[in-house]
Symmetry: C2
Amino acid sequence: MIQLNQRDPRPIYEQVKENFKNLIFQGVIRPDEKMPSVRELAQKLSINPNTIQRAYRELEQEEMIYSIPGKGSFAASVHMIRDNEIRDLMHTFTQTTDRLLGIGVSKEELIRKIEERSKL
Amino acid sequence: MIQLNQRDPRPIYEQVKENFKNLIFQGVIRPDEKMPSVRELAQKLSINPNTIQRAYRELEQEEMIYSIPGKGSFAASVHMIRDNEIRDLMHTFTQTTDRLLGIGVSKEELIRKIEERSKL
DNA sequence: ATAAGTGTACTAATAAAGATAATACAGTTA
DNA sequence: TAACTGTATTATCTTTATTAGTACACTTAT
């Protein structure tokens, strides 16, 4: 299910994270489906359970999964994931907009840019 | 001119960078005015010239200053600095816009958000 | 009740990256 | 040509990041 690449310079927990992100986005792991337990997966990959736990913790912070102590970790719904992504993008959007407006760029110019990009 | 804070946890070159950014923004160092040489300033602050050089290199990458080998380093014009800031902000603006449009957010909603922010 | 499963928190050891220093090179100016 | 200037390269040291070890707390099924 999960595959680690020895030559990949990225830390193990990052590779684990990416693996699961792909599996969830592709629908291989369905919403609310149980993920492998930290110990089970750690043993399978011959690494420390704590490394898996870190991957899971960060995936939970990014709201890709949710964990229940004693029960397990489960994939979030794709709708939830999409909503979170939009929320984050909207946040940087407003932030960037504020700074641009503050520095003197007109709202008309920003709107023009949006019109331009939606035609691509 | 430059003041280092022993208690500041940030690296020295970061403190040097911030110091000069403030001086340039406040107009204490005028456009095209010569900055202290790497060795001169290093001696004054009792640190290695290479540390100053790193600060200058990064300031140059951010186009806050420009350096000429053999001659010295000089402050960029405030107009140039402002233009660069706008260019960078515009870049993240279009990037964020593209991703939002790609994920299904309508251009109308983005325009509405801009109208909203310009009323603050 | 208890055993075997689950996630989590804390600390320590190790690996990787970052910051600074030392030195040498190359261009400019007087 | 001597005294400046910025820059590149390498090495040392410090800090941070990553992983491992261990213990705790909760859930479920026996």
